[in-house]
Symmetry: C3
Amino acid sequence: MQSYTIELLAKIREKAPLIHNITNFVVMNSSANILLATGASPVMAHCLAEMEEMTSLADALVLNVGTLQEDWLESMICAAKTANSRGIPVILDPVGAGATTFRTEAIQKILQHCSVSVLRGNCSEVFSIGSSAIKTKGVDSSLSFSDQMVATAKAMALEKKCILAISGEEDCITDGAKTYRVRNGQPIMTKVTGIGCGLSAVTAAFCAVAEGKLVEATAAAFGFYGLCGDLAVKVSDKPGSFQVAFIDALYSTGAEDIMRSLKVTEV
Amino acid sequence: MQSYTIELLAKIREKAPLIHNITNFVVMNSSANILLATGASPVMAHCLAEMEEMTSLADALVLNVGTLQEDWLESMICAAKTANSRGIPVILDPVGAGATTFRTEAIQKILQHCSVSVLRGNCSEVFSIGSSAIKTKGVDSSLSFSDQMVATAKAMALEKKCILAISGEEDCITDGAKTYRVRNGQPIMTKVTGIGCGLSAVTAAFCAVAEGKLVEATAAAFGFYGLCGDLAVKVSDKPGSFQVAFIDALYSTGAEDIMRSLKVTEV
Amino acid sequence: MQSYTIELLAKIREKAPLIHNITNFVVMNSSANILLATGASPVMAHCLAEMEEMTSLADALVLNVGTLQEDWLESMICAAKTANSRGIPVILDPVGAGATTFRTEAIQKILQHCSVSVLRGNCSEVFSIGSSAIKTKGVDSSLSFSDQMVATAKAMALEKKCILAISGEEDCITDGAKTYRVRNGQPIMTKVTGIGCGLSAVTAAFCAVAEGKLVEATAAAFGFYGLCGDLAVKVSDKPGSFQVAFIDALYSTGAEDIMRSLKVTEV
């Protein structure tokens, strides 16, 4: 996985894929900076009047339902249909799924009307989509990596026909056939807003240059992102200066770091 | 006040109260990071379709009228009514009150239809609500701590049946009966956008764990917040690096710092 | 140009001109911090119900069409008309012009209905307004400083009756009669979101105190801003810590730095 991660990262930095984000107000700025530091080109746009044209310029699409409102949902579905017709990856971040009926139904609607490549969230968010049994409180995660979790994720990935990419203390990425476990990443990453949402954006950047090998690209994105957290926490373990160091790490982490410290394994 | 501040801060860090923010676009990211660094859990949501459910999950509510638009006002009132019916604290930040008729009337409407626990702003914003005589120019403060100011604030707190929490070179917190003066805080804090709005959010976090002792909790929040500014300015007195140091300080300031340097007195 | 830049910067820091921004969601926070660090007072507001009153308080107006939606366009035109009637400068940042029909037409509509003082963007954005031949891909620049570029810019400035301020590796500012070339600035500035939009805001601050000498003030703003980038890159050449150092530089750069290192020449 090291070599493949290095290859994809090099492609991002060379080609600067354009990532169209329809994302929440809280993280628009941080997601843009995270994409720029990684090497991709971000564009944030949500107005229905320009959706088709904007998504037509993009190499991947990110849909993020934080701070959602009704008219944005319509734009998301329009953009996703355009992405589907062009065959570019669609990453859906179900922020706060399960917290309110409006969010849960919005996500269901997107999944019904469009083909989503990767569903990226924490465990409770992702599972609340498949099972109404799990109610999330806000956007915090509450479940951890285990055999049972992997089994549930694989079943749900096959049912939903998309990759599940579940963030947690250890991450789980699966399309039902192949499954990866990622042990990079740091707890302090949950103390900075937008770090999770930024991972959805970086996953889009990796998928944009992956030529269809999306489950591998998603695992590579998670490994790279967590590794940047591992490197940044050595600079600072406090959230303000950690965030700065994390952006720096996304920009400067290279082949050597990845060869030495990437912790992504197929399970 | 030192011991009580330490007690409330410990409760925030232990319980991570969920703070529902309906706040302006400029500060959504910074308020979320400020709450996370302090130890609380932020959620930003404004869509009427999910207001009742979202506020029902929360431990406190923040309403902030910066970058206000009409449909958000409706959501604010719905959220505040839900908060009132559940008995959780409501903090209102009247950004730019007095600057335009639209803002002033929006604030009046909130105060008419809902019970606000704490009104947190600078002197000109807060007083422009009670008296049309004071016109603010944008969002800057123009009045300072004095006997006359305290007297006006006490009268207005009794009239409005809420705590007034007035930020300035020295802060004044009063419910009409008890009044606190806070001498922590630094001028550089006015050179970083969202620091004032962040204080409204941190006030909500302190009130969320205060079991009804809201005037004391508000004074504690102001003291803690200003103290973090005092500590951060020792790291840097320039606004970019000050902001980073301030977030770090919110995360790491503890009992010892509070015992040594909190400057909150009842007057 | 050094002395004039120093003079305008001193006026900004003394008078703190109020800059009314109707700008995109991505950069609201960073533009506010950039203005505060420079010495100006930012206000972000977009609701039609308060436009006339808000612009009436301001010393300059910034219109930025990133993340545009239809109702905001109406507010922009209302604010610009108010600014025109009061004779305060209007800076238009045509983010993503040429990328979608919606953006291009929105910009045309603003230019038709209002008088714009300064059009500030990268080369492809600015030229896409005058010529449909140049299609931008997202918001990246693709053209560089040359005799041909200057000639095109001068012709377009005369035609549009406004100052063109074109950001690039070297910047070009012209009203058709006077033309300035700015060689301050660093490539890393394109790796932080909102740095370009922030320049539009700082241009507004310089124009606000320029008493009508807008082409000189715009050149001074560009020189000062690029110089702050030159100073910040000495602190860090990675985007996270560069951004922090850049804000610090906007706050602390003074007469000596400007005398020594400003690279603005009339061509």
